[in-house]
Symmetry: D2
Subunit: 253 residues, 4 copies
Amino acid sequence: MTNTQVTLVQIDNYGPWTVTPEPRREADLQTMQSRLYADISQFVGNRGGYVFFTRFDNMIAVTNGVDLEDHALLRESVGNRYPVTLSLGVATGTTPVQALEDATGLLQDAGSAQDKNRREVLDGRIVGEEFRTPEDVQIAHFDVVNATGQYTDRLNAFDTFIEIEQGYAALMKYMRHTHDSLSFFVGGDNVIAVCPDLEAAEYEDAVAHVEETAGVTLQVGAGRARSAHEAGIAAKHALETCRADGSRVELEW
Amino acid sequence: MTNTQVTLVQIDNYGPWTVTPEPRREADLQTMQSRLYADISQFVGNRGGYVFFTRFDNMIAVTNGVDLEDHALLRESVGNRYPVTLSLGVATGTTPVQALEDATGLLQDAGSAQDKNRREVLDGRIVGEEFRTPEDVQIAHFDVVNATGQYTDRLNAFDTFIEIEQGYAALMKYMRHTHDSLSFFVGGDNVIAVCPDLEAAEYEDAVAHVEETAGVTLQVGAGRARSAHEAGIAAKHALETCRADGSRVELEW
Amino acid sequence: MTNTQVTLVQIDNYGPWTVTPEPRREADLQTMQSRLYADISQFVGNRGGYVFFTRFDNMIAVTNGVDLEDHALLRESVGNRYPVTLSLGVATGTTPVQALEDATGLLQDAGSAQDKNRREVLDGRIVGEEFRTPEDVQIAHFDVVNATGQYTDRLNAFDTFIEIEQGYAALMKYMRHTHDSLSFFVGGDNVIAVCPDLEAAEYEDAVAHVEETAGVTLQVGAGRARSAHEAGIAAKHALETCRADGSRVELEW
Amino acid sequence: MTNTQVTLVQIDNYGPWTVTPEPRREADLQTMQSRLYADISQFVGNRGGYVFFTRFDNMIAVTNGVDLEDHALLRESVGNRYPVTLSLGVATGTTPVQALEDATGLLQDAGSAQDKNRREVLDGRIVGEEFRTPEDVQIAHFDVVNATGQYTDRLNAFDTFIEIEQGYAALMKYMRHTHDSLSFFVGGDNVIAVCPDLEAAEYEDAVAHVEETAGVTLQVGAGRARSAHEAGIAAKHALETCRADGSRVELEW
């Protein structure tokens, strides 16, 4: 059974900041957001976690192996280097959705995302080192079959993006509502889903669902491990098998 | 009439690179991609342009005011500092979609996005300084009415994201097919659209369409200028008027 | 005759900030400083200028070709993205030292570097586009002859650094007092000097002086152009000639 | 007794890379170097270590608490995100100089810094977790008494820099040869020294030596702990005491 540790990373009072005292240059906001994401990705990633940019002002991370002291250090380090601060809610659950629900609740209970007095909250609980197992995290790595040949090299870049995006929109809803999973677009034609205990049949259903509703053909590799990184690397290897063999679903565990 | 200059920024042969000789750490790919985007955002942005991350391996930029020499410098500078290289296609058109169509074609004609012999292409044409007008670029800045109160502070962070994302998916398709516009999610609950000559009625239709199909209520400010930055700042000010007055569409020109 | 445009970039009230409310993590200060420098290097560098990290809280730039509007944009962009702000003094002079003297004076007249009410000053004058000439900037690029073979591969890394550093300390003083030049260590075994009109004899003297006083053998290439970048590239090519031919001083103009 | 763990971080074959196939833009080299340093500073720093930019192509780090697996991850992550690669030598010793001597020797034995076949070396030994003590690392943080009032606000920015630099040059040699310590300029008017077991008398001598030989008046706080960060924070607090009390040497242990 999975035991996913999820962290909600929220920039404090960000919306108002972007327009105070006047709307700030969009290019600077984009730069700041994406560099902040990159830094968090390094911090979490080199401790075995994954973080997804999501809405940039609200990022979702899988943090099995990252303890509360690490979270406090991330909060401090960002506060030292950026013009904005972070609040962090951390929770664990047998499904990623449940964990995120709890992590979100911790921040919501502390105040609104746009409450200027709610700053640098850190609250929650982790999976203790002694309770971690090699089945805590399940990661599925999807991509679009022959995206380059079918879309990128043939359509204009926005129409390609629409195809990828509609495939993602269909997948994210299906995986959320049918399988309590959190799916994130990670660039190119790739989507990474954080899942509870799913088997091949569920992934086959998801692939079929996206093909039917969005007309986009996916393939997927899945892995399972103590941490998002290890599960994710297994998923990547499984996806390489799809690419080599033409199969649609490969599990590596 | 608008005369949008669009640049397609494509990382050369990126997909294969990410898995050679083995799949690379996802956190490193995310970091590298988002920092590359941030750098391009600064380069283009401090020359008055806008760049959108889109799929990260294919970014779309509005580059009125950025000449071919600047593009060559961007290509060189990225080549000096990253493990990947860029190809750039530049075109102009009376609609953003037409310009992007041509910009994409230039790169497609030069070879596949995954052709390892097609590297650092730079091709295209710009709007010459003497032909630039204050109506060349039209930018619309959308956001979700009361997103924090209605979603962020009430739903879990992924369910909020689903709402924002479905609103964006509906908007991007509608604006593309009805109005030849390119719409990009830029974080939070914000979408920036690059448009041809549109008026209030078209924006009202778009807002109504998204409300009907995705159940998400948008407001939008639009601006028009010689460059994306200037048009975008006008759009941001117009959107501030929506926020202050409760109106749904504001034009500032 | 050279006409160097120099910008003094000063972080406002930085010292006190680093210890308020408590001393901040050194790693974060180092990261923030060096990234701020990197960003300014890109901004100035892709407009043909050079910026040197110097003391990091006070950086010195050669900015021929960068106008006051560009400086204002740099100040705004840093203010949007960092927890600190910049003040900028800009001046021109027939020697780099004179220009820097004036640029420094502009900031000093506006208030102390640690005056918390003196923020985001921008003052000064540039070399107007119509007055620029191909002899405005002279750059000399020094390095240590066979540094790798003689030091890096033989001594411990700090003892190598001591040698390079003592060579630099001797050169910087000599070039400052004898030739009104500003010399900066730029990494490895490289020093870049911003000079007035000097000829081979002056460079030969400088090389001889460092050999005598610090026991370090230098070679140098020099270039001259409208901008620091162009002069610097010529200097680099000249230095390549030294490396190929074993000569100690090469001029490329 | 101290037991300092030192890592030598060397960019592989960097000099030749900077001029192949032609000399690269200096601004890009500066940007790449300083961002690479910043990344390593975050990686090492958020594990309790300190890294100093030194010559940028050869950086020296104090890495007590950073194990060999972490070093391997740093090497991999840089390889994934930069156009250059790193070699790492790690050693421990009762003096910082001895540790660095050994760390350097490991890389020298593996090949020249400019050997194009010597890439991504990682060799060495760490202080095992079970052998770490609260006296392993001693850090001294020096700064110049009233640098802003005496130099920054009065001299031109280069002449101020010369003063700071000459003070540093005197200190680095003295501390190296008299006390087996490694001293690094870290920006502003600050120097951080990594020391063996020194007491107040040795620091008083060092301050007196720099005053006599370079005419620069220093004050210094020193700390001692299991890691560079903890020792460094203690040193910073001790230095705050100097600033408050006007004393020249403060120890906090």
